[in-house]
């Protein structure tokens, strides 16, 4: 189906074992992830400025000082810390991991050569090489992620039923590159400024646009929201800030690329995107980390605010290091992502492709506050090896005539556990709320689990909710049919799986769509054979 050339970017290749009997039984097709093949598991050797381990007031003051923050920001952090000390780690998710020692983590790590964002010329060449190796050229003339060039044909071209998502394809992507605790470069800043779009590291925005940050930070995910969000509020180090002014259609895709590099270091980024009235922005997020034996913590918060008639499209391809075949190492990913459709007719859409992380705990949600607002959640979650995923969404209908749509596709292989957890609720005043949920799971092999836990809550008689969930496997009949037409088994599986996830892939901006399809195929490589 596709060429198997090594694709730079966001992939988890897994090896092929050769000693398996060529038996068709699904169980024999299950093979282990061999993470030696995780292409992004390398480590950048660079002198780092690392704060001592532990989470306490001193560390928070240190972070705040390193970032040259105003007093109000420090106060905000300390308030969050006070709150966090009274909270307990949530245990309701279907995840099994040993207790995390929050005092055994570095909360700040930055390359010595730079203490904050710099212009491209000032970036340490070693870091530039790192991003090059990851397929993220930090040069303004190239597009993101080493995917095809703008004029390169792809299989999507002969496929008229998969048009690129509307308005998503500009061919150019502005990148904010976050390396451990700091943003090392942000491209296309000047060009974006011309359109009035603010796109910069949040640490910079706190200094340069305090009025916007103060107004919106914590307005969607309050300081006290949940254990991990509260911790993030206390110790967040960097992340992206986006403001799209009234009536502006952001002229290019914006993206942030997160890289955890330093050992024993957590990454706690904070992203805040505000789409003012009538504006539009599409934002992409990618992530990788080196391969290490110990687990590393990633606890991010993303807040989206869509004012009247505004639209935000947020896409993620999550490819954190998943750990080895025995479940050793890998990223613990505890993320709070929430969008607030604050104005009438606003729209927020989350699309995620999850292939990495040892643990994923993540529920990108929409608060449908404005009348006629719309929330969407499209998700593909692939688990293999010993990965555990508990992910889904919340659609909270508050306004009148609000609508939401959830398409979730879970694929479990190996010894993994893959749970969809989603809440749809209609407030008493949410007349004519509409939700459609389709939640499908595919199992590959007998050692994995697929679970579906929806919470459907209606308090309004005119609200209409429809929820459907199915669990199935790749049918032997479909596989045989494809193979009879000459398609080798592993490609046949990838083809069928890509058909299974197509509804979601279609929602991704073109650059990511091609990438995501390859990524899914490669993530499952070795799970069949």
């Amino acid at each position: 189906m596709r060429k198997r050339h090594p694709v730079p970017g966001l992939l988890i290749p897994v090896s092929m074992e050769t000693d398996m009997p060529a038996v068709q039984e699904t169980i024999d097709r299950v093979r282990k992830i061999d993470v030696d093949q995780y292409k992004y598991g390398f480590e950048t050797l660079i002198e780092m400025d690392v704060a001592p381990k532990g989470l306490n007031e001193d560390i928070i003051r240190l972070i705040s000082t390193k970032k040259n923050e105003p007093q109000w920001m420090l106060d905000w952090r300390l308030k969050a810390f006070e709150r966090w000390k009274t909270m307990e780690s949530p245990d309701w998710a279907r995840l099994d991991y040993p207790p995390i020692d929050f005092q055994d983590i570095h909360y700040y790590a930055a390359p010595k050569s730079m203490s904050g964002p710099a212009s491209l010329d000032e970036v340490d060449p070693e870091i530039l090489r790192t991003y090059e190796k990851l397929g993220i050229p930090l040069k303004e003339q190239e597009i993101l992620a080493g995917v095809r060039k703008a004029d390169e044909p792809s299989e999507f071209d002969d496929n008229s039923d998969t048009p690129p998502a509307e308005g998503s394809y500009s061919g150019r992507v502005a990148v904010d590159a976050v390396f451990d605790s700091v943003s090392v470069a942000t491209t296309f800043k000047k060009e974006l400024q011309k359109a009035g779009v603010i796109f910069m590291p949040i640490s910079e925005a706190i200094r340069e646009h305090p009025e916007l940050v103060q107004k919106y930070l914590g307005s969607v995910v309050p300081i006290s929201d949940n254990f991990f969000a509260t911790m993030n509020s206390a110790v967040f180090t960097d992340g992206s800030f986006v403001y799209v002014p009234k009536g502006v259609r952001c002229p290019m895709e914006l993206s942030t690329y997160f890289r955890i590099n330093e050992r024993n270091t957590g990454q706690f980024e904070r992203t805040l995107i505000i789409a003012d009235e009538g504006s539009y922005v599409s934002y992409l997020e990618g992530c990788t980390a080196p391969q290490r034996d110990e687990n590393q913590l990633h606890a991010a918060v993303v807040e989206l605010v869509a004012l009247g008639d505004a639209e935000i499209k947020y896409s993620t391809v999550q490819n954190w290091y998943p750990g080895d075949k025995d479940g050793k190492g890998g990223i613990y990913n505890f993320v709070t992502k929430r969008g607030d459709c604050r104005g009438a007719n606003s729209r927020i859409s989350w699309t995620q492709v999850e292939t990495g992380s040892a643990i994923t705990w993540k529920y990108p949600s929409c608060i449908l506050r404005g009348d006629n607002s719309r929330g969407e959640f499209y998700s593909i979650a692939v688990s293999n090896g010993r990965q555990q995923i508990d992910s889904g969404t919340k659609m909270i209908h508050l306004g009148k005539n609000t609508s939401s749509r959830i398409i979730s596709k879970g694929i479990s292989a190996g010894n993994s556990s893959n749970t969809y957890r989603g809440q749809v609720s209609a407030h008493r005043k949410a007349s004519n709320a509409r939700n459609f949920t389709q939640c499908d799971s595919l199992l590959i092999g007998e050692e994995c689990g697929a679970h579906t836990v929806p919470y459907i809550e209606s308090k309004n008689a005119t609200a209409q909710f429809e929820h459907e969930a199915t669990t199935s496997k790749i049918s032997e009949d479909q596989l045989f049919y494809c193979m009879q037409r000459g398609i080798p088994e592993e490609e046949a599986v990838a083809l069928i799986v890509n058909g299974f996830v197509k509804d979601v892939i279609q929602q991704l901006p073109m650059e990511f769509a091609v990438e995501a399809q390859k990524l899914i195929g490669i993530s499952l490589e070795g799970s069949v054979g």
Binding site: F102, R428, G449, S458, F465, A469, T470
Partner: protein
Amino acid sequence: MSVVTELKTRTPAETQLLQLAEARGENENARRPAIEALRRDGLPTRKVEAWHYTDLRALVGRRIKDDAAVASLKAGDDAILEPLLANSVVICLDDPVSAHLPDGVMATSSSSVADWQASPNHLDRSIDTIRALSAAFGASSAKIAVSSKTSVDTPIELRPAAGSDSHFYAQVSVGEGASATFVERLEGDGSPAPSTGVSTLTIADRANVLWIVDQEKGAEASHLGQLNVTIGADAVFRLFVLNAGGGLVRYEVHAETVGEGADVQIRGANLLKDGQHVDVTTTLNHRVPNTTATETFRNVVTGGHGVFQGMIKVAKGAQKTDAKMACNSLLLSDEGDFSAKPELEIFADDVQCGHGATAGEIDADHLFYLMSRGIPEATARALLVKAFLGEVVEELEDEAIVEALEARIDTWLDTHA
């Protein structure tokens, strides 16, 4: 971060329930451990996932506010009832031996209490709340057995003890190749302190059982019920749950297939009005290959809080399981709400499992169609609501049973909808 487990402060209602249990006197030894477990753990809150939508601690607390509420426990006033199905034989669960039973059916009284420490249902705590309450109160205990290869044509109606502080524990077994129909009749004014009813039903290979739950308790009554079923090879278990009464009601069904070819068919109707909290929680546990299950609940809500939690579990190795679940709710007023949590927990890859849930009002197109044929709106609405419920009742096929249940439903609709 170290987690400090704090001792919960007991609510006044919890204290009173414990006092009530202490005051029961008889069968002390069997009850003691359950009382202590309750003293330790209290009633579950919504933080316990299995009680996510039914915060028992708060709900019971709200109902037992003072001693007066507990005092009213003694004031039972159960009228003499006609059985739900004509020609039924009635077994009073506190006096099972006195019933005149058909051939092949045995009923005895027993001193055992519900097995509250054995396999708590999904996501509940280390103890099973309803079974623990039943054990703590020392339910009147009965054993009913249907001999193998016996086809019992007479429906058997099971009735809790007269008096509203009733707690029963029924152990029912249906032998190989036998068939029987049971009606669990939950009636009476009841009291704010919850009554409990726990049944175990063991269905042997190739047996066929229809179990009907008819819950029409008074508006003040709190009731916690549980039916635990194991289904043998090629056996059929059919269940119909009708909830058309009660103030605070939770009915749990935990069905487990233990033999290949077992078939489970669960249907139910929950009718809710203002002031009620009605929760139906089911788990379908597929433990062996080649079993099938279908489950459909229809809910009509004119007020109050309705809850459906349904779990389909497929154990590792239980290949070729085919299980479908649906929960459809009609909300007739903004005064009521309905929450559904249909879950799948799948550990085998060659299965067909699915669930669907819908919530909404009466279909406007259907209503328009009927009205365009000259049917007045109120009549048309009533017709559509009846049809919505009728669909699940009629699947029982037996004409007399369908009629009996539809009569109960119609009575409710005529009064409340």
